[in-house]
Structures are given as C-alpha cells and as structure tokens.
C-alpha cells in the first residue's frame, strides 16, 4: 500500500468515528449535506469531467431516485425498508439514463446536454401532474426511519466512499482510458477501436446510478420532497456542475473540495440573504470559468506540474553548462 492509500484510509476512519465525538446535530447535518454533494459531484464529474459529456439536467436522475423511494413509502413500504430505494432509485435513474443516452449519444454536438435538461423538465411536469403516483406539487412527506443523525452520516459516508473508490477504479481501467479518449477527440478514439456511443453510455449509466442513489438518500434523510426541489435546474443540476468545476473537473479530489466549499458558502449566504442567494453562485460560476477554468485542485496540480517542469529545465541547463 502506498502513502496516499494510507492517508485516505486514515482519513476515512477519522470521518467514520467523528459522530462518536461530536453529536451537534447542526454540524452533523452540514457534514451529511457535504457528503451528499461529494457524491453528486463525483457522479457528475465522471460523465462531464472525465468523459466530456456535459449534462445540464442531472436533477432528472436525482429526482427519479428520490421519487422512487418516496413512492415506495407512499405505497406502503416502511421508512426503514425504504432504504432499499438506494439501490432501486439508482437503478431507475440508470434505466431512464439508458433511454436518453441511446437516443442522444449517436449524435454529436449539444444534443445530449440539452436533452437531459429537457428530460429533467418533463419529469418535473410528470411529478406535478401525475397526482395519484406522486401527490403532485404537494410532494411526499413521511417520518424518516432514524432519529439520530449519526446513522444518516454513516450511510452517506459509505455511499460517497464507495462512489469514490468505484470511480477511481474505473478511471484506472480500460473504461477510464476510453472515457478520456472520447473526451479528448472522438474521431481519434473511434479510429483506435473505441465504440464511443457505447462507452459514453457506460459513463452515463454509472453517473446516473450514483445520482439516483443520492436522490434516494435525500428522500430518506429529509423525509420530504416535491417536484420543484428534486427536479430543480438551479438547485440541483447547476450546483452539481458548480461543485465539480469549483473543485476541479476531471480530478478525483475536485468534487470533494468543491462540495466542502459549496456547503460552507451556501450556509453563509442562506443566513444573510432570504432569497436570491443563488446570485452568488452564478457569479462564482462566471469567475471560475473565466479565471480558474481548472478549478482549485486542477490549478494546484498545474502549478505543481509547472514547477516540476521548470526544475527539470533548470537541471538540464545546469547540466549543459
């Protein structure tokens, strides 16, 4: 095991025992939300950052995951058993994703990006109008299974860690190489034997599955959803992108850093502004794209690589002298 892995394991262990030391529900809530956004950022990053397929509508998959769980409880499942929604919600999201991917990935250009955006809107309308199934705009409300926040904390920590490990493994395998190749140059990728349509779909399926699971967790944790919350373009779809690019798209650590900052900033502004605090995130998106297109982790990595190059260059020069 290398040093990085030991640090990661130690960090995870520390996170796992944290609720034993700190029982403040507000702190735990913030940590739970942070981990939820780590999960969402990881999921978006796999498809958007690593595979280069930008989705403006991941709320579609989040909402499907949340509603799968919500509808299960509404139709008589106990809130404790509703945790099965984590798997089921993920699978439902992946199912919907496979349809949209099958339609769009044969085409190049912005079709996929816009179709998911449209999908999220259509699903929101369905959730509002199909009252027997979803309770319509009123949403679904139930008393969550656990009273202590620590349980939720451990569950979301486990899912986020799982997503991290899975995505890391994927990115080191053939699949990951194919995702990157497609992002860099689809023509070159295809001429090198890569079935771009198929591998884009694989990336989407993994991404949608984790996003759906995150949606299901949200339902299980908060006990309330409505179509405007879980299918929200601004609060879910765009924020998933923000979390990723803030930390650094196409880096494994990026979404983690992005999620931490997002939750802190979001709490701060929620206190100060009654409404319209999203304006700050809009400005943040603009500033990142113009000034820090690689995000925090990406910029640090580039600086470090630049230093290494300069040092190598200096070494060469001094050797030549």
């Amino acid at each position: 095991m290398n040093r990085k892995a030991i640090f990661a394991a130690a960090g995870l262990a520390l996170l796992a025992v944290f609720p034993l030391a700190v029982q403040n529900p507000y702190v735990l809530h913030l940590l739970i939300m942070t981990l939820l956004w780590v999960l969402l950022g990881q999921a978006w990053n796999l498809l958007g950052g690593f595979t280069g397929q930008i989705s403006y509508g991941h709320a579609a998959f989040f909402g499907v995951g949340a509603y799968t769980t919500g509808i299960l409880v509404k139709s008589g499942l106990s809130p404790a058993a509703a945790w099965s929604g984590l798997l089921l919600g993920g699978l439902m999201a992946a199912l919907i994703a496979s349809v949209i991917g099958w339609i769009c990935f044969r085409l190049r250009g912005p079709y996929f990006s816009l179709s998911v955006l449209a999908l999220a809107e259509v699903l929101r309308l369905v959730a509002v109008n199909w009252k027997q199934l979803t309770n319509g705009a009123e949403g679904i409300l139930y008393i969550p299974a656990f009273r202590s926040k620590a349980h939720y904390y451990w569950i979301i920590l486990a899912i986020a860690a799982l997503a991290f490990v899975v995505i890391r493994a994927v990115m080191r395998s053939k699949l990951g190489f194919y995702f990157l190749s497609i992002r860099e140059d689809q023509d070159a990728a295809e001429s090198l034997g890569i079935d771009a349509t198929k591998y884009k779909l694989y990336s989407l399926l993994i991404s949608a599955f984790f996003t759906g699971a995150a949606g299901s967790f949200y339902m299980n944790y908060l006990g309330f959803i409505d179509p405007g919350i879980v299918f929200s373009i601004a609060d879910i779809s765009i924020m998933m992108i923000l979390v990723t690019i803030l930390g650094g798209a196409a880096t494994l650590a990026g979404p983690i850093v992005g999620a931490v900052i997002y939750i802190l900033v979001s709490e701060f502004f929620r206190v100060w502004f009654k409404s319209g605090h999203l304006i700050f995130f809009g400005i943040l998106i603009i500033v990142i794209i113009i000034f820090f297109p690689s995000g925090i982790v990406g910029t640090i990595k580039e600086r470090r690589a630049g230093r290494k190059l300069r040092r190598a260059g200096a070494a060469r020069e001094s050797a030549a002298a």
Binding site: G48, G49, G52, I54, Y56, I103, C104, L107, R108, G109, P110, Y111, S113, L114, S115, L117, A118, L119, E121, V122, L125, V126, V128, N129, R183, I233, A234, I238, I241, I245, A249, A250, F273, S275, G276, H277, L278, I279, F281, G282, I283, L284, I285, I286, I289, I290, P293, S294, G298
Partner: protein, 308 residues
C-alpha cells in the same frame, strides 16, 4: 353541418390561431438563439433570462413613465443590444479563447449569467408576479365565418395579433439585413466559416459582439411584446430558455429559416396539446417533439442544420 361539428371546428380554428400567434413570438425568440448558435456555435442558456430582463425594462417604462410596451421597443431593443454586446465582449469572448478541460465552457458560462440575471431580478424586484395593465390587454377582434349553414365565430386577441405583426416585421427586417447589407453578409460569412472569414479581412470578433447584441435585441423584443399578455416574474426566463433551444434544435442548429418554422411548430404544439391533451403538460409537448426530432430528424425539420 351539425352544431356540434361546427363547435368542434370553431375550437380547432381558435386553437390554430392562438398557436400561430404564439408561434410568431416563439420564432422571434428562436431567431435570436439561432443567430447566436450559427456564429458562435454555442447554445445560449441565458436566452430566456435576457428576455426576462427586457420584460422588466418594459414593465418599468410603463409603470414609471406610462410608455406603451410597443413604443418601448424603441428603447428596449437598443438597450438589450448593448447588454448583449457587453456580455459577449467581457464574458464570452475571453472564455472562447481560453483553454479548458470541459467542452462547451461558454455554454456553462451562459448558465452562470442566467443564474445571475434571474437572481438579480429576484433581489431587486422580489418574487412577486407583475403584469402590465395596458388598456387593450383583453381587447379582442371577432371574425365570423359562414360554413355549411353554421356560423363559426373566432376571436383573436388584439395584443397577440399586434405582437405577431411586429414579430413578422422584425423577422423580415432580420432577413433583409442578413441578405442585403454588408454587415449581414459578414455575419453569414462568419457563421459559415469563421477562419475563412477572418482571412478575408472580416473582424470576426466584432461580428460576434454584434451577433450576440442582435440576438439579445430580438429576444428582448419578444419580451416587450409578451408583456401585455403575460405575467412576469424573475424565474420566467428558465422555461423560455428551454423553449428557445427546443426551437433551435427543431429548426436545425444555426438554421435561420428553420428557427421560424421551429417557433411556429412549438406554438402550435403547445396550443393543440393544452386543449386536446392536457393543460398541465403544456410545456412538455415541445420536449416530446424535440425528442422525436432527435430520433428521426437529427438535422432539424428542414434537414439543413449541422448534425456535427
């Protein structure tokens, strides 16, 4: 002819008329988007938010100084043009020339711009629904037809008809501008091949500013025209951005005549769908057509857009 059948025909006629009138406004929205798409090769996801800005301009011009919405076009369009130029010049152009991991970084930028505009409106004007209470808001023109011994009476909303007429004029002006003037030809040349256009001595950067400006002015005009017939609120932009890209894809990316057709199709689809299927799903019909077009006609209804 039975009275029931006449009633059915009357309803259908009514639905078609309102669909076409609405479609004219949608076409105006789509034209701006398609123009931007053609030259910059990006989808402007702040398009609806730009329209929202124009709607508030019109609203305040009316509320503060009693400027009629149709007259305010003369102020709103130039202001929106300037806003568009500024957005392109100070935000989008710098990003187009920068290197980034994510493709379509500029599109993401427009998402950020949209978010800022919508929430700025929310902070400044609150979430309240507002309307422009013009005297002719509910003025209606009746049109009676004799058909098989029955009278079919169609009503046409005066503000919608006026909006449609102005939209047609603006659309025609755009076509003349693109077809007959040097600047218009330069815009088309840049849309066709930016590098070649630059080699021919066209200042393509300036062309992109002007294009975004015109796109913003067109959608701004649509906003002003919508004011007498629609509520306005800070979040109204989102749904219209969605409509705009649906129209653009229906027409074929960057295809200007296609955008007009796309606008009319969307207007008719919403109008027919909300009467004959369900009002709650009104906004979904456009998306359904959108998906059908993606499956069967990925190059748009006219088949001339770029599929790449």
């Amino acid at each position: 002819m039975s009275p029931q059948l006449a009633g059915q025909i009357e309803l259908l006629g009514q639905v078609l008329i309102s669909g076409i009138l609405l479609g004219g406004l949608y076409a105006l929205i789509g034209l701006g988007m398609s123009l931007i798409m053609g030259v910059m090769k990006i989808i402007n996801l702040a398009h609806g938010e730009l329209m929202m800005v124009a709607m508030y301009m019109t609203y305040w011009a009316f509320t503060l100084w009693h400027v009629d919405p149709y007259v305010s076009l003369l102020i709103v369009c130039p202001l929106m043009f300037l806003l568009g130029v500024a957005i392109q010049k100070f935000l989008i152009t710098p990003v187009m020339e920068a290197e980034s991991i994510l493709p379509q970084n500029q599109v993401l930028l427009t998402v950020g711009i949209g978010l800022v505009l919508a929430n700025l409106a929310l902070l400044l004007f609150t979430a309240n629904y507002r309307s422009v209470p013009v005297s002719y808001a509910s003025k209606t023109i009746y049109w009676d037809l004799k058909l098989g011994g029955q009278t079919i009476s169609l009503s046409i909303s005066y503000p919608f008809l006026t909006a449609f007429g102005i939209a047609v004029l603006l659309g025609a002006a755009l076509f003349l501008f693109l077809g007959m003037t040097d600047l218009g030809r330069m815009i088309r040349a840049t849309a066709q091949d930016k590098r070649a256009a630059a080699l021919m001595g066209i200042n393509t950067r300036k062309i992109t500013y002007i294009t975004f400006g015109i796109g913003a002015a067109l959608v701004g005009a649509a906003g002003a025209l919508l004011d007498p017939v629609y509520y306005l609120y800070p979040q109204i932009g989102g749904p219209f951005t969605n409509k705009a890209f649906v129209i653009t894809i229906l027409g074929g990316l960057g295809n200007i005549p296609g955008a007009v057709l796309g606008g009319l199709v969307l207007g008719l689809a919403e109008s027919l769908g909300s009467v004959y299927v369900s009002l709650g799903y009104k906004d979904a019909f456009g998306f359904i057509i959108f998906v059908l077009v993606l499956i069967f006609l990925p190059r748009g209804l006219l088949g001339k857009g770029r599929a790449q």
